[in-house]
Symmetry: C2
Amino acid sequence: MTFEVSQVKAIVFDVFGTVVDWRGSIIREVSAAGKRLGVTKDAKDWEQFADRWRAAYSEGTREVREGRREWVTADQMHRERLDILLAEFGMDGLSEEETRQLNRAWHRLDPWPDAVAGLTRLKSKYIIGTLSNGNIGLLVNMAKYGGLPWDVVFAGELVRSYKPDPKVYLKAVELLGLEPHEVMMCAAHLHDLHGAAKVGLSTGFVARPTEYGSGERKPDLKADSSINVAGADYPEFADRMGV
Amino acid sequence: MTFEVSQVKAIVFDVFGTVVDWRGSIIREVSAAGKRLGVTKDAKDWEQFADRWRAAYSEGTREVREGRREWVTADQMHRERLDILLAEFGMDGLSEEETRQLNRAWHRLDPWPDAVAGLTRLKSKYIIGTLSNGNIGLLVNMAKYGGLPWDVVFAGELVRSYKPDPKVYLKAVELLGLEPHEVMMCAAHLHDLHGAAKVGLSTGFVARPTEYGSGERKPDLKADSSINVAGADYPEFADRMGV
């Protein structure tokens, strides 16, 4: 089927990396927590803390998706890895309440500077929502924190699995009462978009070249030819979506 | 446990009747459709059309909740009854597309005049969401239509049952990652609030004395002593919630 922008009624967004700068936000929070405890580390160490914390989520969501682990939320995966990292970094002096607060750093991730204005433009014409592997409570708190103007909050949690499991994309389509091609998955990550396209969703790419900073993972800098709409940033993506 | 307003972190709202004037909106839509078809009726007849259409939903949600019927959405229940009513009212001249459009009148219900301002005030301090027996797609479209500023959209659809089934209230609590007493159910209907209170939610009442107009059903004019917070309208309810 030929893609036309006019077929899209709703856009659902990947969140971590696509809408918010998880890495910069987490580095800021963990280094501040270290400072309060008198733990001195290099900038590189805090970057490693953030990347290893994030890796728990990538690994955990894969384990759940592949049936190797019972359902657990992002909050739970973050907490398990946090306990390990705090011990390794000599930060186990945090109280239970402080540890809980720090684990909720994932609820306080800063939007990329162009994201809120871009989403607000898109909201004028489309239903906009999340479709994230983060849990609903996390996503709602993050939206309040960062002023993300979602119309609706969807997550893998609704089917107790994780993207790119087809069930996750199809649940959002079903709950919106739309056809798959009327829903566009928007992400900075091609593997997520390929998962969505496999079950018939439209696809949108927004480049986020600094997501991984100087870390080992490399961002997808460009869309491939399978992607329906691509923008180098939110303003360009919104232009191409006709808003 | 003694109730304190400060324990509330999220308020989830009943929608039909509590936030939107379903009866006035539906009477407007069905009488306009009749007029287009050249069908002449008294105002009383159009009121009866609206009330009988609404009754399909009340009956259908009860049948699903009690296990006497497989899961169907509000949209589906509305469509079944609409086909019957159109025939009875001599309006079966509508095309399939026109009938679909008319069935979506339930996605275009006007907010009560004080609702959007009241919700906007409450949103400044609380997570605000729906907890409705309407399906998610219907609720999202209605929010776009009426400018309802929800942070999150919950519905019985998420557990394929209907309020006052305890599962519906508890699913919203679970997805928010909160304790039941941290979530307030707000409605103009005491039976809904009693259902929520039974599983530990806090309760808020907003009076909507004109919901049923001159119809047979009578509104709950006041809260009873079990309700935690009550307002005669949205401004008073927001005052009492400390915003």
